[in-house]
């Protein structure tokens, strides 16, 4: 028995790209996770992206972080919980508005990001080996179209 032919798409729509992008994403996440583990880092792609955003943007309120990364605020809350336990980020209450937590990278988080960055760079270029410039730009365009089509109807 083999995995189902990937062309067997949902509900007989034979030109659906959904299962393709779903699986590519899943395996990419697994690959990143496994390589990080090998290198001695217990980090997911999600966490690495968050490190990067905080590195580039500086401290931000949770709400803004959720918006910037297009996540539900509850998801953001728990992601920050996880990363706080690992001492990658810290919540610092804003004295001017007691509702707000500013999320900072810790020194440890900054250090880890610097270490992990070149590894990610390599993994990503390995994952995209064999894709032409034009393939990459077509994929990006297509994904934006799909995302727009979805959001349009999500109002």
């Amino acid at each position: 028995m083999k995995p189902l032919d990937i062309t067997q798409n949902i509900c007989g729509i034979d030109d659906s790209v959904m299962p393709y992008i779903g699986k590519a994403m899943k395996f990419a996440d697994m690959r990143i996770c496994s390589e990080m583990t090998e290198q001695g880092y217990k980090l997911s792609r999600t966490q690495i992206v968050m490190l990067k955003v905080l590195h580039q943007q500086g401290a931000l309120p949770q709400n803004d972080l959720a918006f910037l990364t297009e996540r539900d605020k509850t998801s953001l809350t728990r992601l920050i919980n996880t990363m706080e336990k690992k001492n990658l980020v810290a919540r610092i209450p804003n004295p001017d508005d007691k509702r707000i937590n500013m999320v900072h990278l810790t020194t440890n988080g900054e250090k880890l990001f610097a270490e992990v960055r070149p590894i990610m760079k390599r993994i990503i270029s390995e994952m995209q080996q064999g894709l032409s410039e034009s393939d990459i730009s077509t994929v990006k365009k297509a994904m934006e179209i799909i995302q727009d089509n979805c959001i349009k109807k999500l109002q």
Copy 2:
């Protein structure tokens, strides 16, 4: 404040397609879920795909189902738990090999799949509105390449 420009990719690799496919997938799942809810069905894309596989393949051992759908067997176990609670599928022990559970679609599951199938068909075609034949085939090819590159290194 706006969502980060999607071109802001992981670790400064500006031609990475990862964030694009991740977000497209997430919004597609949300769209499917929300539309299903509107129509009175509490079903995720994952569950619908499982209904379809069982509809087409007939009853299967959990192990085979996990392999066919490229899921970890523990993930499969819990997906079947969820669907069993909803009376969409049933586990029937194999008398010839007491280790094996055959997973069947229930009558209810079969009925629901028939109802949901045309809805999915519409959603998918709406989501891909604006993609040309050639875009779709490029995306498929690209996703297969990424998946292969990942699996290669996951041994």
